[in-house]
């Protein structure tokens, strides 16, 4: 692993994983930067200065460039992230170049994903056909299907991974997707762009989601507009992971997290107490519910009003598992979020099948709700 020594577009320090052969490189790096900075504005080509690499030039290859676009759509927080490809090349032994895309002007922040093999030319005949491995999944839990063209190629120092989404059954469309990929080397890890899907707000780009590859497992970190044919195409460095922390499920930064805290005593026969926090990541898809509430009995919700409604407050029903506070009985309950025609009014309604006035403790704190598929 090495870190950049500078760049001409206002990004911070960039960490690279690399495999450096005599006549080609495999590089992995993810980073982001604000496009409003004057360095980026002035640059014609994005250049990253790095410690001396083994090769001093390469041909042009593709790296992924994306942006975030989270907004309310039909009452729900929805993800409209998008991406495309930029050309990238090794300019000299200390400089990595990336094409500056005019189509990305106006995007406040760009995300670059480098998982590429940079070859040279006139170096002798290539190795020819490589041995491919088909994708065989052990669902943990049920995972999305990948189509038959999906495969990976294992080399001594890197792996080429091609994942192509197949037709996803509706039953799992709102579930987290995670699985072990049989025989996938466990020494590759990283966050990859998962590209695909058309969308109404950024229709000129592909949708952009992210997946995590770690310890032989695939997990879908978040999904935007994925559909049959969405893909990941990556050359991933083996090993060289020292010091790199890859979270299978992302912790969103503070400015993307929305938290509501409720603390209410019993206020009437049908106004149950509750002491819980309710948190969701902006536009997503991940709800966290911790605490306890009183049940109003089967079929009756326990309404908590939300003040200062966040623009991306979700709509719809999500399920978690809780238990009665005496620790004995399992109760299944719903979290129902609702906004009315009044955009400033919202409600969180935990509902439960337990008898009225039973106190329910939530111990499954994570609710995964994918509201886009």
């Amino acid at each position: 692993m090495f870190v950049s020594t500078g760049n001409n577009f206002g990004a911070g320090q960039i960490r690279f994983k690399s495999y450096q052969a005599e006549n080609y490189l495999v590089l992995n790096a993810n980073f982001s930067f604000l496009t409003g900075n004057p360095d980026y504005q002035a640059a014609e080509v994005l250049e990253i200065s790095v410690p001396t690499m083994r090769i001093d030039r390469s041909v042009e290859v593709g790296v992924f460039v994306g942006f975030r676009d989270r907004r309310q759509s039909y009452g729900s927080g929805t993800c409209y992230d998008g991406c495309t490809l930029a050309r990238s090349w090794i300019k000299d032994s200390n400089t990595i170049c990336i094409e500056k895309l005019a189509c990305m002007s106006g995007k406040e922040k760009l995300y670059i994903y480098i998982a590429a093999l940079y070859p040279q030319l006139n170096q002798g005949l290539s190795d020819g056909k490589q041995t491919k491995n088909s994708i065989s999944l052990t669902p943990l839990p049920e995972c999305c299907p990948f189509n038959s063209k999906s495969m990976f190629v294992v080399k001594e120092h890197w792996v080429m991974l091609l994942l192509i989404l197949g037709n996803v059954p509706g039953a799992i469309s709102s579930s987290p997707w995670a699985a072990a990929i049989e025989n996938l080397p466990v020494d590759i890890q990283g966050v990859l762009p998962f590209c695909g899907g058309s969308q109404q707000y950024n229709g000129e780009f592909n949708g952009l989601s992210e997946i995590t590859i770690k310890e032989g497992r695939f997990s879908s970190r978040y999904r935007c507009m994925v559909q049959d044919g969405s893909f990941a195409f990556a050359f991933m460095v083996r090993g060289d992971n020292e010091g790199e922390v890859v979270e299978e499920w992302p912790l969103f930064p503070e400015d993307e997290r929305i938290r509501y805290i409720f603390d209410r005593e019993k206020q009437g026969e049908w106004v149950q107490p509750g002491q819980f926090s309710f948190e969701l990541a902006q536009g997503l898809l991940l709800l966290s519910f911790q605490g306890w509430f009183g049940s109003n009995g089967p079929g009756n919700g326990n309404q908590f009003e939300v003040e200062t409604l966040h623009p991306l407050f979700p709509q719809g029903r999500s399920g978690v598992v809780g238990r009665t506070k005496d620790g004995n009985r399992l109760a299944i309950y719903d979290i129902f979020c609702e906004t009315s025609m009044n955009p400033n009014y919202g409600r969180v309604i935990p509902a439960c099948s337990a008898p009225k006035d039973t106190l329910i403790e939530v111990f499954d704190t994570n609710i995964y709700t994918y509201n886009q598929y």
């Binding site: 030319l121 290539s126 780009f205």
Partner: protein, 351 residues
């Protein structure tokens, strides 16, 4: 005869009959007057005209600019034919660097560079000359702004051992194509004569920093003109590359650069595909066979090249020889969105 002060008292300069005298750094130097031995080439005419123009332009510089050139010249040494370091004047340095820059199609610099850096020596593995081919291979690459300068002579008798004075600049700014430089057209245009098999061609090469005009050490060599068949055998087998020149009818691409000789387990693509009507497919047919062990399915990235549309996807291309002996690569959509026209580029993995 030119009436000037006597040599004995110094100060003599100019030419008379077969003697030329000049004053350099306080020394009086006499030499045999040189006379042009052949017809002036058009390249020489252009060069002499530019040198004259550049020399005259020095007088238009400001005092500060001239001083800067003088200062830089003091820190830069040249070497005279006597093997002793002689001082370079500011105008000498200005002319030398700007002649080189103009030769490389760069604009003149009026302000002296802050400093001059050493330019690497040139190195190449093979120079092949035949009546229809002038190719250098194995050029050791130097990054921009260095350019590869090639001087060559017309083909002369193989018995001549020192013909480097006959070389002229064939290419002042040949950027090597991954270690290769094809100078066939430039050689024919500059020399005006086709090399004759069996005759000798003299060669001088060096790197020039086109930003400053500095040049590196000249490397001299020579080669005997081969037959076209011999030359093709030497150069042809080393690189498995397919460009627009190799495309056959039926191809639906307008730009093509595919190379198998990456030395890595990937194939390089830089192709502009126009696609086909009604079918999400692209076809390439070439007039020479694909390399051995290079038939199979390749997966490579594609980016749409259309105004306001930047969709991306993955193509799978089947590389094979068809039943009717066509060398084909047919690409179909494997993932994502494949728009047309599309740029197929980067490293493709063959499985």
């Amino acid at each position: 005869m030119i009436a000037l002060p006597s040599i004995a008292f110094g100060g003599f300069s100019g030419s008379a009959k077969d003697v030329t005298a000049r004053q350099v750094g306080g020394r009086s130097i006499l030499s045999v007057r040189s006379w042009p031995t052949g017809q002036t080439t058009s390249a020489q005419v252009v060069r002499r005209a530019s040198m004259s123009k550049i020399t005259k332009s020095y007088k238009t510089l400001s005092d500060e600019q001239m001083l800067a050139w003088e200062n830089l010249a003091k820190h830069t040494s040249g070497q005279s034919i006597f093997g002793q370091k002689a001082e370079l004047s500011g105008i000498n340095l200005y002319v030398r660097l700007n002649v080189n820059r103009v030769m490389a199609a760069e604009s003149m610099i009026l302000d002296a560079p802050e400093s001059l850096n050493s330019v690497p020596s040139a190195s190449y593995r093979l120079a092949v000359v035949s009546p229809s081919m002038v190719i250098f291979q194995g050029i050791k690459h130097q990054p921009l702004p260095n350019k590869f300068v090639v001087k060559m002579s017309a083909a002369v008798s193989p018995g001549i051992s020192n013909g480097w004075s006959k070389t002229v600049i064939i290419s002042p700014n040949a950027e090597d194509d991954w270690g290769e430089a094809d100078l066939t057209t430039l050689y024919t245009k500059t020399i005006g004569l086709t090399p004759v098999v069996g005759q000798k061609v003299f060669i001088e090469v060096y790197w020039m920093n086109t930003a400053t005009g500095e040049t590196g050490q000249e490397v001299r060599g020579s080669t005997i003109c081969l037959t076209d068949e011999e030359a093709a055998a030497l150069v042809g087998g080393s690189r498995a590359r397919y460009t627009e020149e190799d495309l056959m009818p039926g191809s639906t691409v307008t730009e093509c650069d595919i190379e198998f000789t990456t030395g890595a387990p990937v194939i390089f693509f830089d192709v502009l595909s126009q696609g086909m009507d009604g079918v999400a497919q692209s076809e390439i047919y070439v007039d020479k066979p694909w390399p051995e062990n290079s038939r199979g399915t390749v997966y490579v990235l594609n980016r749409e090249k259309k105004e306001n549309s930047y969709h991306i996807g993955v193509l799978n291309g089947v590389i094979k020889e068809t039943y009717d002996h066509k060398n084909s690569a047919v690409f179909n959509a494997a993932a994502g969105t494949i728009g047309k026209p599309g740029e197929i580029f980067g490293a493709g993995i063959l499985v």
